[in-house]
């Protein structure tokens, strides 16, 4: 040992002394910077740069989807394409007043239906009446995706600029931390646009696909009949029971109006003969759960904002009809991008489960309503 008396203080080589001196200097400067808030400023700049790079990706997603819709509409001979795009991309929906809850569901339903009808009318007017309904539906869905990406982009940009303007590091930090989650959603929407443009069924089509399989599997007595806008039903026979299968009218991109359809069917038929209502829908899985696994439950399996679901719940309560639900599990991205093989396998399992439920929970002579809930893009009847 070169310096046996004091190896740590004063006795080291020149190199060691320099290293200590530089370390102390750096920590002193950093401490002063921290007190003056300079360090936070540096951190803010790093977060800003990273958020801006993600914003550029987001802007790119939005512009690509916008161009895709523009090309599609121009190819179909649409008029005033730019005007349609500008209106649809900035279209907004105002939620009804919630501090007065009376008839809020009816008001929400009116607002949502007006939005749906307005966007469809916008596309139909631009394309002309000769265009196929499937084309209109898919174009409206693509416009809705462009709208979602535009709103997400604007929202992130707004939070970033507000954070920088007010030098609110916490606001920027929060945005930076949530950004991976927002980017996941944006990527899923971007991927969904490509799939929808081609007419490939998405994961959310699991419910309508299950309804289609039941329709093809069971002997048909009547239908398919369009009972309400974009929603059809057909009547089948299974183990001496009448099975009424309801789904959105495909293969265009629409969820239909399953709640209104079930309400009409129950009111038209003798309500006492309805033994149960079974809803089959795609459901968000928990992380770790396998895609395409199924689960049975009670209630109405439906991910709508409320108006359709409540119609089924109310009619079931009025006539004491049991409500059964079958969920086909998938992730958020899987629900809005091309349907996976695991989900198709899950659909087969859900159909078999629904058949078993019918036999176990109802008696011969009963009528059962089975609803395939979801977007029926790429699935006919």
């Amino acid at each position: 040992m070169a310096n046996a008396t004091s190896p740590w203080f004063g006795g080291g080589s020149d190199l060691a002394t320099w290293i200590i001196a530089i370390s102390i200097l750096i920590s002193t400067i950093l401490s002063i910077f921290a007190f003056l808030g300079v360090a936070q400023g540096f951190q803010l700049r790093i977060w800003k740069a990273q958020i801006e790079s993600k914003l550029r990706i987001l802007e790119n997603y939005r512009d690509e989807v916008r161009d895709e819709v523009r090309k599609r509409l121009e190819k179909l001979g649409a008029r005033n394409v730019e005007e349609v795009l500008n209106t649809a991309l900035d279209y907004f929906v105002i939620s009804p007043v919630s501090i007065e809850p009376t008839d809020i569901i009816k008001r929400l339903e009116r607002v949502l239906r007006t939005e749906e009808e307005r966007l469809e009318a916008l596309v139909t007017r631009s394309l002309g009446s000769k265009v196929d309904d499937v084309v209109v539906k898919n174009s409206v869905t693509l416009l809705a995706i462009a709208n979602a990406l535009n709103i997400l982009y604007k929202y992130i940009r707004h939070i970033l600029l507000t954070g920088i303007k007010t030098r609110n590091a916490l606001l920027v930090a929060q945005l930076w931390m949530l950004l991976p989650f927002y980017m996941r959603i944006a990527k899923a929407y971007y991927d969904a646009s490509k799939v929808i443009a081609r007419g490939v069924p998405i994961g959310d089509a699991a419910g309508p696909l299950a309804a289609y399989k039941l329709m093809k599997m069971l002997p048909r007595i009547e239908g398919p009949v369009e009972i309400t806008k974009d929603t059809i039903y057909s009547v089948h026979e299974y183990e001496n029971r009448r099975v009424i299968v309801v789904k959105a009218k495909g293969p265009g991109s629409t969820v239909g109006r399953p709640g209104e359809a079930v309400e009409k069917i129950v009111e038209t038929l003798s309500p006492s003969s309805i033994a149960s209502i079974i809803t089959i829908d795609a459901a968000l899985k928990m992380e770790g759960e396998p895609t395409g696994s199924i689960a049975e439950g009670t209630g109405v399996a439906m991910g709508d904002p409320g108006p359709e679901k409540i119609r089924i719940e109310r009619i079931a309560v009025r006539h004491k009809i049991p409500l059964y639900a079958i969920a086909i599990k998938m992730g958020l991205e899987e629900a809005i991008t091309a349907i996976k093989k695991e989900i198709v396998v899950g659909v087969e399992k859900a159909v078999e489960h629904a058949k078993r439920l019918i036999v176990e929970e109802t008696r011969p002579g009963d009528t059962i309503i089975v609803v395939g809930v979801g977007n029926t893009l790429g699935v006919a009847q």
Binding site: M1, A2, N3, P7, W8, G11, G12, S13, L15, A16, I19, I20, R198, G199, V200, P201, L209, Y212, K216, G250, P251, T337, A338, I339, K340, K341, I343, V344, G378, V379, A380, Q381
Partner: protein, 116 residues
């Protein structure tokens, strides 16, 4: 240079710090380079009479329930689209697909060179 125990300790700390920074940079670059597996959409055709099934690549205009022009080799009736799904191309399929892609690119380049 006369290196005592303390200097050695300090040097090892500096080397360790540099190694840690290098590891972090490499780990970040490595995670960026990860690519998603290629995917393709498959259409399943089924004969509604005998149950014969076969698959092919998805074509625009396909939808579940559509009666297509292709006929069943056993019954001679038109096949119906029974399912459409997406699957990842992995393993041998990926290798073959990449090989086909490389061949196509090479042929295109040869054709371009020939025309110029």
């Amino acid at each position: 240079m006369n290196l005592d125990l303390y200097t050695l300790y300090m040097l090892s700390m500096v080397i360790l710090s540099i190694a840690m920074v290098a590891y972090m940079i490499l780990a970040t670059l490595g995670s960026r380079g990860k690519r998603e597996p290629e995917k393709k959409v498959i259409t399943v055709l089924r004969c509604s009479k005998c149950g014969y099934t076969r698959t092919r690549d998805f074509k625009e205009g396909d939808y579940v329930g559509k009666v297509v022009d292709e006929v069943c080799p056993k019954c001679g009736i038109n096949l119906v689209i029974d399912a459409i799904y997406e699957e990842s191309i992995t393993g041998l399929n990926q290798v073959l697909r990449n090989k086909r892609k490389r061949e196509r690119t090479r042929k295109r380049q040869v054709a371009r060179n020939g025309s110029s």
